[in-house]
Symmetry: C2
Amino acid sequence: MVREGDDVAKLICAALDREQLDLFAGDVVVVASKILAKAEGRSVDLESVQPSDAARTLAQDADKDPRLVQLVLDESTHVSRVRAGVLLVRHRLGFVSANAGIDRSNIENTSQVLLLPTDPDAWARELRSKISSTYGVDLGVVVADTHGRAFRRGNLGVAIGVSGFEPLADLRGTQDLFGNVLEATIVPVADQLAAAAGLVTGESAEGLPVVVVRGALVMPGEAGATSLVWSPEEDLYA
Amino acid sequence: MVREGDDVAKLICAALDREQLDLFAGDVVVVASKILAKAEGRSVDLESVQPSDAARTLAQDADKDPRLVQLVLDESTHVSRVRAGVLLVRHRLGFVSANAGIDRSNIENTSQVLLLPTDPDAWARELRSKISSTYGVDLGVVVADTHGRAFRRGNLGVAIGVSGFEPLADLRGTQDLFGNVLEATIVPVADQLAAAAGLVTGESAEGLPVVVVRGALVMPGEAGATSLVWSPEEDLYA
């Protein structure tokens, strides 16, 4: 259980040590955003939230707690879709997700909710720097959340913080096996890593909050996780 | 190179044999849809396509070859979004993707395009049956394609055919670490597997068309890949 103020890098290294696991150059450490949010003290007691009129109205349409909706509005820049039980927004970090990623599970007190970390890319850079220097090798770090999706059912792991490699591998202009130039091939490597980590963790992001992926092909870069998100102008759906 | 009429199961087993790889119970074999489409003879010469007036109009809006657009319309049930260079449709198999998954790359003759396999779930069942019986163990099979996404950049692996396990792990009603009941937790395991396979293949689906994933937690079931897709009525975006 991670608590506010904990040194997460130190906890991760200690856990690897306990499991007698070493890290190697190119390994990518995928960390559940939830433990970073806890370390950062991003939990909020709903009892302390005073919902606005706008939040009350939206809460009625979405069939949700007006205090939760107030927090969602505070964390977002745009409401994308509203239905009974559904509130999809563009988070201030750029991505579109349900309830601005605010989570009620894995919280001890049920009037407590957990916001996403303030700056997941900064978390990724800090963890990368600390863990890389502990092991003396160059690592990648992904801060992972799970998002519902347009078109497809189920919540899939996505990268909301990235450091140590290029989140998108841009293969445009390269050639396929027959020498044809690939026109539209951008591979979201950081999201692939977050999705793959979900195979190991299931939905138990706190029971198993850290996954190491070895052998993935990553390219150097530091564009951060916001590079994974369509801007509002480019997005054909949000 | 897979050719029309090839026995893909036999080719996969031969390739595993060459690499001296064994398969174990619970392994999931992720197969690129492209090689199945080729084996099935789904390539079409654009020279043979006579576009309708509707296809010509849409082709102008999408800035695409009218013959390609005709094939896209033939393969789809609904046009979702059109912009210059972009044609997003609901495929007859249910999912929303660009150009109905019709591919121009990795084809020797550039007037040739490749449609998706007719029935990827049937392919998954057939491959599973044949490969499982060759190795004498119970396997899962995913037929994988890559799709662009709403909200997020890049093409991610998705499952368009599944056999041998439940594509969606439904954790609703189970409890988290603090005993709170999880309300909305459906994990798209088959899509996680397809996305993870992309870490190994890159975009070179023909250079490395088969990936074996070992150790994933899968549950028995045979709902098939269509269970991964929101119906038009449920879909808030398409």
